[in-house]
């Protein structure tokens, strides 16, 4: 099963994701994110907009490849893959 590493900033809103290894079934990025939502209800509202697209300042990669299809999130995550979810840098 793929592993998901998320920015620690999200632990504040989803403590259920802290201090654990997040493993979800392989599938598309959309399916992976929805699986995390099962563990931490409301999670997808933080990373996706109401149309299922990745929010503008959220970055996501499969291993070391940034996800390009940010709208429908159909990129496939392999069984041994790692998904990294992090926020784009901004200041102020």
């Amino acid at each position: 099963m793929p592993t998901v590493e998320i920015t620690p900033h999200l632990y504040r809103f989803f403590p259920a994701l802290e201090n654990r290894i997040i493993r979800v079934p392989a599938g598309s990025i959309a399916e992976v994110l929805n699986a995390i939502n099962e563990i931490a209800p409301g999670f997808t509202d933080y990373v996706m907009d109401e149309h299922g697209a990745l929010r503008r300042h959220v970055s996501l990669s499969i291993n070391d490849t940034l996800v390009v299809d940010r709208k429908s999130l159909r990129d496939q995550v392999p069984e041994d893959g790692t998904v990294y979810l992090f926020q784009a840098l901004s200041g102020g």
Binding site: H9, L10, F13, G42, D45, Y46, V47, D49, E50, H51, A53, R55, R56, H57, V58, Q87, A88, S90, G92
Partner: protein, 396 residues
């Protein structure tokens, strides 16, 4: 509301609650620490506290507290429905050609960028809450914020291209963007002011930048533009029906036909329920540009503004912070300075940054200064100088 006991600040770094104590106003530890809060208010009907969070990364969210601020919970359900589209507005770029043929409409799927205002219904509608958003959607909840629905008659208004759920535009989109939307990578309108007539819950006003004021007399089933008398100085046709930039609109609680507007192009006043506006600015007295306006709850001719240097600067005039009050519908203004910094002050007070409760007024600036007056704005005391940039001030 004569004896305000709570002030809510929406700030760039969270929600600040201030309690009235015998020693004065005392701030609690900040809530939503580190998260921008563009609006915070207390529902006077049941005491629920609300904050509109403007997460930089995680999207706009509502947060509410039903125990006076001890604990808060996310409300995630404010979303545009599938099929909600808008005609994309773009700022002209360097290669803009005014002589080029008008391009085909470009449509975008609406997503909530910012929850800019929350307004509570009358006591006879205990669960009703209104939310104004960028990109220009009015949302309504009937159950205290648990679920929300887009007001489609306003979204589908002919001034915005008609019903884009049903197909492509059937009219021209005459709503323009607000600079407040640029942070989200778009140039779209925003609803920042919502007025519910205390006498008649079906009677509503909204104000949108940059479109103008709209009125509904049937509970939001239909809307009509109310911009007669408005003057948009920077536009080719200053008295056009649309494209105006109200910064904030507020009405007198007891005399709601008296309605005030601090506009980009001056202070405007209507004593006939926004049927006719008239400009009541006195630029020579410094009363012209600004963002907020507060109206006396009993006397519709009495209002307060926080004058600022025009859009070229957007800060206190000549480094001197002041508040102006009229008691005669804008025919004359008195400017009050006592207790406010008069040298090297560069504050700007944003559209939700001023509020009134009885004889008490409070405002906060993006410099993190908060001032309070208990004598109808004539003298001021400093509540604090080290708050984060203040976006909203509301008595609770």
């Amino acid at each position: 509301m004569d004896a305000a006991r709570l002030i809510l600040l929406g700030t760039r770094k969270g929600t600040v609650l201030l309690d009235r104590k015998p020693s004065g106003w005392v701030a609690r530890t900040i809530e939503h620490a580190g998260i921008p809060v563009c609006y915070a208010a207390r529902d006077p009907r049941d005491g629920t506290l609300w904050s509109a969070l403007d997460h930089g990364h995680w999207g706009p969210k509502l947060s509410r507290s039903r125990d006076g601020g001890a604990t808060w919970e996310d409300v995630l359900s404010l979303k545009y429905p599938k099929g909600a589209r808008y005609i994309v507005k773009t700022l002209p770029g360097p290669d803009f050609d005014p002589n080029a043929p008008v391009a085909q409409n470009e449509y975008g799927d609406a997503t909530v960028f910012k929850i800019w205002n929350l307004t509570f219904g009358n006591p006879e509608q205990p669960g009703r809450i209104y939310a104004g958003t960028i990109p220009g959607g009015l949302f309504v909840s009937e159950n205290g914020g648990d679920t929300w629905a887009l007001n489609r008659p306003l979204w589908n208004h002919e001034s915005r291209g008609g019903d884009l759920f049903a197909g492509d535009a059937t009219s021209e989109n005459r709503w323009y963007g607000t600079p407040a939307s640029i942070d989200y990578g778009v140039f779209e309108p925003g609803i920042h002011s919502i007025v519910v007539d205390p006498r008649d819950s079906r009677h509503l006003y909204v104000a949108a930048s940059s479109a103008g004021v709209l009125e509904s007399t049937d509970g939001g089933q239909s809307w009509a533009g109310r911009n007669r008398g408005m003057l948009n100085d920077y536009a080719p046709n200053p008295s056009a029906d649309w494209g105006h930039d109200p910064h904030f609109v507020s009405a007198c609680a007891k005399q709601p036909e008296h309605i005030w507007q601090q506009n980009h192009c001056g202070v405007f006043y209507s004593d006939d329920g926004a049927r006719n506006w008239r400009k009541v600015s006195v630029p020579d007295a410094g009363v012209h540009f600004g963002f907020p306006v507060a109206v006396d709850a009993n006397d519709g001719k009495t209002a307060w503004v926080v004058p600022a240097a025009g859009d070229y600067a957007r800060m206190a005039i000549d480094g001197s912070l002041c508040v102006a009050r009229t008691h005669d519908g804008g025919q004359s203004w008195k400017v009050f300075r006592k207790g406010l910094p008069q040298k090297k002050a560069y504050d700007i007070v944003l559209r939700h940054g001023l509020d009134i409760a009885g004889d008490t007024l409070c405002f906060g600036s993006t410099t993190g200064n908060v001032y309070l007056s208990e004598d109808r704005g004539e003298t001021w005391q400093c509540v604090g100088n080290n708050f984060p940039p203040v976006y909203s001030v509301r008595f609770g």
